[in-house]
Subunit: 227 residues, 2 copies
DNA sequence: TTAAATTTGTGAAAAATATAACTAGCCGAA
DNA sequence: TTCGGCTAGTTATATTTTTCACAAATTTAA
């Protein structure tokens, strides 16, 4: 059996397609062509067709895609046809903000619990979500059937928390700590690194200066620097 | 003059290298080889050398890179040798969480102001940061020399806010609204889409099921569906 | 019923990215 | 001073991703 390797770039785009299809449905459209979708964003229609074709022949030649039908397929492919329970570790500002992030609610994700090590926070609530002792993580995971963990802890603790989370049987982790983590190969780790994004913006702002002076590269330090 | 086109993947990695160099400095190291750096993360040493070589010859053959020297170069390249002022639009939970996100402070970014349209919020403070009326955006931008905008507003307002921000002369924007925006070509827009990241995790969790049934693709709906 | 107009799915080409292999410069020891 | 061991910079190769281009399928119009 040939296992098709689907690139993450492809699945990311599926999310975008799905969003657009929802919008089109709201507008009352019944079908859409790959070209129609492509123009909604800045994408190539062949890419859309190819992305979809990895998973099946969802379209009809001469017509396009039946929006409702395609929506159901993508929803199924992305596993969004069932609810996911999210546990957020780290009840700092970021963790709390994520706890009632509307984006979670909108896409079949429910935040079931927050976790922290700080005694003062344990037992408090953020909206509907209670803060638990991180020590009880495994237990709560089983009780609430948590299947996604979000790491909103300081960088220095992120790796050890990831390991704790892995031991509890979690297979999908979203990490906000600005540090590259090592995960077991059967665990999907997605790091959202705001620092990198910021520095990328900074690079853009600085770039014009870099390009002055005819792009001359500075030479290596030739002289030996003893000690 | 040949303008080297530097990939964003390269500049993203520069951020990572910089972080690692800071760590190494803290550990008292003086030099590091590309291979040493590569092993710290999961990277290829040739890639590191190539990334750095776009900007100059920073290394010394037989030795490696002088850490302090390289840090200074990368800091300069990324434009982190000067402070950036950040304005956050949207004083909801996410905006407020970002306002005192330690990552901003750590990398020479200062959050100068929050903006919102909600009368009740205007005038309040989040930590050191005051919430201003979005109507006064241009003015505050000039006053505080804000050069980076962060969009933490609902998706439906994101495009119009982006335009307002652009009019005020901002050239670098980080968008947290889960919607693809159109920016002027001289404005750098970076979207951090948590929904896509989440759905990517969901795909991973669902995948084993997708691969059952020998990867048979469902066929297209052949019958004509009238009306 | 046939022809023209669409539009998918896909193989081939192109572009971008990453890895490997090689060349040359530098250090340290003999 | 010379040689062997490293290691950066760079060229060549491989891989991945995107785009192009066209045959096949379908609808619409004549």
């Amino acid at each position: 059996m040939k296992v098709e390797k689907i690139s993450e770039l492809t699945t990311n785009r599926l999310s975008i397609y799905l969003r657009c299809l929802n919008e089109l449905t709201a507008q009352g459209a019944k079908t859409v062509s790959s070209d129609g979708l492509a123009q909604k964003f800045h994408l190539n229609s062949a890419q859309i067709r190819k992305d979809l074709a990895y998973f099946g022949e969802f379209g009809v030649r001469g017509v396009g895609y039946y929006i409702d039908d395609l929506r159901k397929h993508i929803t199924k492919i992305l596993g969004l046809d069932r609810r996911h329970c999210v546990g957020i570790i780290g009840a700092g500002r970021l963790g709390m903000a994520l706890a009632d992030y509307y984006g979670f609610a909108q896409t079949n994700f429910t935040v079931a619990a927050l976790f922290d090590a700080d005694r003062k926070k344990i037992g408090q609530k953020v909206g509907e979500v209670e803060i638990f002792d991180i020590k009880d993580f495994s237990e709560i995971v089983k009780r609430d059937k948590i299947d996604v963990a979000v790491l909103a802890v300081p960088a220095e603790f992120a790796q050890e928390v990831l390991e704790k989370v892995t031991e509890a049987g979690i297979k999908a982790v979203m990490n906000f700590a600005p540090i590259p983590l090592r995960a077991r190969s059967d665990v999907k780790l997605k790091t959202v690194d705001l620092t990198i994004s910021l520095e990328s913006l900074s690079y853009f702002l600085a770039k014009p200066n870099n390009l002055n002076g005819k792009n001359v590269k500075p030479n290596a330090p030739k002289a030996r620097i003893k000690k």
